[in-house]
């Protein structure tokens, strides 16, 4: 579903991403681990076609994102570290607006409220302005947008950082459900525990390179941490 082939990006001579080749199949949850500046966000920006690759290609559903930018975004949902919404609109209005722009202007109020319920937003919050929302609530609206859009691929950029454990847990549960439904997930994260919990595979990145890929079923949490630190040290 998500595919990077020899994907490389230089910014003014600095290599942000070097020769990344990976593939995320439907139902996969691929977690990119790495320090700041390892190239995780660059990878996601390349898939979103927010930046142009220096070489190589990123494909979504087999389509090159630079050539069919709008088409590839139909399959995609993106949830950043903090989902950004319009403060002066309510959660429901935000969801309505974004899903309408994603091509789902046919959604009824009942359907939209149902999406918000599925992601666990308190019912009374739907009609409150987003200005009053906590970060966890915003993330939930972000997932609701992805649900409404019926995205086949999800790009997540540190979606749980700064969430309290309960909210992070709920988030992981939602992710597991989406993965069961056959959504391909690419998630950048710092959180080894979360990666082990919700990921099917993890990739460790360092200085723009993918240095190690593991199946999460193969390793325990302690092993993952050890391997991660080994790669960070040398």
């Amino acid at each position: 579903m998500l595919e990077a082939v020899h994907l490389t990006k230089h910014y003014n001579g600095v290599t942000a991403l070097e020769d990344l080749t990976l593939r995320v199949n439907p139902g996969d949850v691929f977690c990119l681990l790495g320090a700041n500046g390892a190239g995780k966000t660059t990878t996601i920006n390349l898939f979103l076609n927010f930046v142009q690759p220096s070489s190589g290609t990123a494909r979504i559903n087999g389509l090159d994102v630079t050539e069919q930018s709008l088409e590839t975004k139909k399959y995609l949902a993106y949830i950043p570290e903090t989902v950004m919404l319009y403060k002066n609109l309510t959660g429901l209005e935000n969801l309505e607006y974004f899903s309408a722009l994603a091509g789902r202007s046919d959604c009824t109020r009942v359907q939209l409220l149902d999406f918000l319920k599925q992601v666990g937003l308190q019912p009374e919050a739907a009609d409150q302005r987003v200005g009053t929302y906590s970060k966890g609530m915003r993330q939930k609206v972000g997932i609701a947008i992805a649900l409404a859009k019926n995205a086949r691929a999800l790009l997540l950029d540190e979606p749980t950082s700064g969430l309290d454990p309960k909210a992070a847990n709920e988030f992981s549960a939602l992710l597991a459900r989406l993965s069961q439904d056959g959504v391909a997930v690419l998630m950048a994260t710092h959180d080894l525990f979360r990666a082990k919990e919700s990921g099917t595979r993890v990739g460790i990145m360092r200085q723009g390179k993918l240095v190690r890929t593991l199946e999460t079923t193969e390793v325990g949490h302690a092993d993952l941490e050890r391997i991660y630190l080994e790669h960070m040290h040398d």
């Binding site: 979103l48 709008l70 950043p80 319009y86 974004f98």
Partner: protein
């Protein structure tokens, strides 16, 4: 696209600052329309009364020599165009009445601006001022965050990750700003129409409809230009603060600096003589007696030839009438040359001012606004010419009467019948097509600005950077 526009409007309406600003702008335009309406009604009423009084005085002159009557003279009052309540243009600076008398083409007198201090000149708020200066500020404030703000908030990433085409986004934003603007413009226009409708005591409105309609069209083109420029800057600027600073600088230059700078530039390129220089030069030419003597001799010969006689005593008409008229004719030539030259200079200044419109969209729209309101220099000149024609007509009627009916050496008086031969002075504002023809370069420049601004907006938003 409509989804985007609707969301923009909802968001804007929920912004308290917007509501306050909208009310303020609306109040300003309402106040300016009210002031314009009062001023127009007062002045128009006074003019009508004065015009009638001067006519009555003329008709009720006792029996006297026609040349005395010509010296007695009358006033010609410039009727105010109804749309001057929207844009008073140069009216306060050029005077409203001319004294029409024998031998002289007088300058227009009674300039309202003469009685004011320099500060007051600045302070006059016409509806045109509210629309052309204050509304663009409103547009800037309503649209500087369009892209820059969403970029800073991070919602632009969210939008573009959904697969929204930037073209739709730009169109939606423009439509949203337009709709928000409409919430101010529509009520303001209704107030304006009401102000115009409250002046029907001075005649039907029909004649002003085409002018008012064109005025509205030109203002809308101007607003579209400002919206496009604002969106372009907002798309281009890295942060909303940068966008705001750039747009405010543009607004300030466009609405406050450029107009004055262009006027100064035009005056520097085409300097006009001072009133004293102008008068002295004209007097010098008028006081040339030699030329007059030659011309009168020629007239005498012509007359003797026409009546086939060898002495002036045998000519059956009174030469003093001919001589007076010849004096008028000669003076008219001098006036035409001097005033014509002066007016040409003003026209040159106007052209320079118009072409300065390449520097800012305010200049062409300002020229057009005055032209359509009937308060620009072209309209003033048209009226001055008509008044002068009328003055010359009076002189001709008086002098012809002297030539035909009086006897040399004998006292001669004429009465009410002769006074009534002079028709009442009536002046009609030229039609809208005339006004548009005069302002054609401004129409072109304003359209050029609008197209250029839209192109700029399209270009700036073609690749919206999200980071």
């Amino acid at each position: 696209m409509f989804t985007i526009a609707r969301k923009e409007v909802v968001e804007t309406l929920r912004d308290g600052r917007f509501r306050a600003l909208a009310i303020l702008v609306l109040a300003l335009s309402a106040a300016s329309f009210a002031a314009g309406w009062r001023h127009y009604s007062d002045v128009q009423r006074q003019h009508l009364e004065a015009q009638e009084a001067t006519r009555t005085q003329w008709l009720n002159q006792p029996a006297k020599n026609p040349h005395s009557a010509a010296h007695y003279g009358m006033y010609a009052f410039k009727p105010k165009s109804r749309l001057s309540l929207v844009d008073s243009g140069i009216d306060p600076y050029v005077g409203v009445a001319a004294w029409l008398e024998a031998h002289r083409q007088n300058e227009f007198r009674y300039r309202p601006a003469q009685d004011r201090t320099a500060i007051q000149r600045f302070g006059e708020l016409t509806a045109a001022e509210a629309f052309l200066v204050v509304l663009p500020l409103f547009i800037v404030l309503a649209s500087f965050t369009a892209f820059a703000g969403e970029r800073e908030q991070g919602t632009l990433r969210q939008l573009l990750s959904l697969g929204v085409a930037t073209r739709d986004l730009v169109a939606g934003k423009a439509l949203g700003v337009a709709a928000a603007l409409g919430l101010v413009i529509v009520p303001a226009t209704i107030i304006g129409v009401a102000a115009l409708a409250a002046t029907t005591e001075f005649g039907g409105l029909r004649a002003d409809v085409p002018r008012a309609a064109w005025l509205a069209v030109m203002y809308l083109i101007y607003f579209a230009t400002i919206v496009a420029i604002s969106l372009a800057v907002s798309a281009w600027a890295r942060s909303p603060r940068t966008a705001l600073v750039i747009l405010l600088a543009f607004w300030f230059a466009n609405s406050l600096i450029v107009t004055r700078a262009a006027a100064d530039l035009a005056a520097w390129l085409h300097p006009t003589p001072s009133a004293i220089e102008f008068q002295t030069a004209m007097e010098r030419e008028l006081s040339n007696q030699e030329e007059m003597r030659v011309r009168l001799d020629r007239r005498r010969e012509e007359l003797m030839r026409r009546y086939n006689v060898s002495s002036m005593d045998a000519v059956p008409i009174n030469f003093s009438g001919i001589s007076l008229q010849e004096g008028e004719e000669r003076a008219n030539e001098v006036f035409d040359r001097h005033y014509g030259g002066l007016f040409e200079r003003y026209e040159s200044q106007n052209r320079a001012f118009q072409w300065a419109g390449l520097a800012a969209p305010m200049l062409p729209v300002r020229s057009l606004s005055m032209a359509l309101a009937g308060t620009d220099f072209a309209h003033h000149r048209e009226f001055v010419t008509a008044a002068e024609e009328y003055r010359r007509g009076i002189q001709r009627v008086m002098n012809d009467d002297i030539a035909r009916n009086s006897k040399p050496g004998a006292a001669y008086t004429a009465g009410a019948a002769l006074w009534a031969e002079v028709p009442e002075f009536r002046y009609e504002l030229p039609g809208v097509s005339w006004a548009m023809r005069q302002a054609a370069p401004s129409v072109g420049l304003l359209l050029a600005w609008c197209v250029a601004a839209c192109w700029l907006a399209a270009r700036a938003t073609r690749r919206l950077g999200v980071v």
